[in-house]
């Protein structure tokens, strides 16, 4: 319902109203930081932008963790299939299935 996309803070603009210039793939716009007063971003931070406001700081760590999870998706399955392909799975008649 709400189009919001990541942009990087190029510059925090000093003044009475908290603002910043963000860049989204070569496009720059002045945005408002009034919704991030509790956790003000600094230049270089990535924020989620919606209707000219920064809604949320984007967490590099959480993004990285998510990518790791995504890279692992299906990997276990692939490994299991590989093992089965060697015929090793047949040796185990269900006894050693601790997981």
């Amino acid at each position: 319902m709400c189009l919001a996309i990541p942009g990087q803070i190029v510059e925090v603009v000093p003044g009475a109203v908290a603002g910043a210039v963000v860049e989204v793939v070569g496009v720059r716009r002045r945005i408002d930081l009034g919704l991030l007063l509790d956790d003000m971003p600094v230049a270089g931070d990535w924020v989620l932008i919606h209707v000219g406001f920064a809604m949320s700081k984007i967490s590099e760590n959480d993004a990285r963790e998510q990518m790791e999870l995504l890279r692992m998706l299906g990997e276990c399955e692939a490994a299991v299939e590989e093992v089965a392909g060697y015929g090793l799975g047949d040796e185990d008649d269900g006894r050693g299935q601790a997981s």
Partner: protein, 349 residues
């Protein structure tokens, strides 16, 4: 092997009670107006409409077209209304396989327009005409009361001679034919959107306004009679031109989304504003359908022209789904690329 695709564009009826802005935006509504109201009365029943008409006068074959130009602001990064007015008509002829030879022009001027603004645009027209190799041989001026026009409107009408060895015919489009795009899409439309200033966005973008004739000539040199169709994707963008092709030829069009070149600034603005680069206007690009055996040579020829480096083969003609443009994602999913209903509007949802 390939199947000939029949060329019977469906009938359109115009039932809208009044003219709305969407009728000028180059998408579905524009098409309905022209094909449902204007063409049936003025041109009678006929085949699909193209960017220019070809007529024979006194035994000589000529191409002719006309176009009007309305743009705010008059000047924008990379060009101005005067330049657009020359290139636009030259390009409409070029993609019809015609080299523009002469232009005539009409100026509709709003009382109060600074003379310096007008002079700058007249000079821009002269420069663009010199670059495009076309002569401006006549014109007319009209002045309307202040408030009855937005500064100035331009109309140009161009006449030229057909390029040797090209016979464009949407009826010759076949399954397996290849679609060539001359360069990145959306530069002009996004440049204008940003230049209006309402959205407060900035990007290092310039309009792509230019004559595409040199690239078309290179393409003709490489693929000549096996170029089936050409179009310059102006208002309504590449999506609209491809939908017209799909509809007129009753064929399917499959484009590979990742092969469509898009400049960063265009992509950024489209992501921010919820727009599709395929719907954004271009003023210096063209699309062509070419027989597959000529595609590689055609691409090399266009890429060898200065300014043609960004050309790509973006997709192909299919039998099904007829009348529809599909974009394939690199991960094997597809979506329908529809024509736009009106102007692309920024969205927040």
């Amino acid at each position: 092997m390939s199947t000939v695709i029949t060329h019977t564009p469906p009938r359109v009826r115009f039932k809208d009670p009044q003219i709305e802005m969407a009728h000028g935006a180059g998408g579905k509504a524009s098409r309905r107006l022209v094909e449902g109201l204007i063409a049936p009365i003025l041109l009678g029943a006929g085949g699909a409409l193209s960017d220019a008409a070809q007529v024979t006068i006194g035994g000589t074959r000529l191409g002719i077209t006309t176009d009007s130009f309305v743009v705010t602001p008059l000047r924008f990064p990379g060009g101005s209304i005067g330049e657009l007015a020359v290139n636009g008509t030259v390009n409409d002829l070029a993609v019809s396989g015609v080299r523009a030879e002469v232009l005539v022009t009409t100026f509709v001027l709003e009382a109060g327009l600074p003379s310096a603004v007008l002079e700058a645009e007249v000079r821009a027209m002269a420069d663009a005409a010199a670059r495009a190799g076309v002569r401006i041989v006549g014109g007319d001026t009209k002045v309307v009361e202040h408030g009855l026009a937005d500064q100035m409107y331009l109309t140009t009408t161009g006449i030229g001679s057909p390029l040797a060895g090209v016979t464009l015919d949407p009826g010759s489009v076949r399954e397996g034919d290849v679609i060539l795009l001359s360069g990145p899409v959306g530069d002009h439309g996004i440049t204008i959107l940003l230049a209006r200033g309402d959205l407060d966005l900035e990007a290092d973008l310039t309009s792509d306004t230019r004559s595409v004739l040199p690239m078309v000539e290179a393409l003709v040199g490489a693929a000549g009679p096996r170029i089936r169709w050409m179009r310059d994707p102006t208002r309504g963008g590449a999506a609209t031109s491809l939908n017209e092709l799909a509809r007129d030829c009753r064929c399917g069009i499959l484009i590979r989304e990742d092969d469509v070149p898009v400049h960063d600034g265009v992509r950024g603005a489209c992501e921010l504003l919820g727009l599709d680069p395929l719907h954004i206007a271009n003023e210096g690009q063209f699309l062509a359908v070419i027989a597959p055996q000529d595609a590689a040579a055609a691409l090399r020829a266009v890429q060898a022209v200065p300014g043609g480096e960004g050309a790509r083969l973006i997709g192909e003609v299919t039998l099904q789904p007829a009348g529809t443009v599909l974009a394939m994602t690199p991960y094997g999913a597809s979506r329908v690329v529809d024509m736009l209903v009106g102007d692309p509007l920024p969205r927040i949802c």
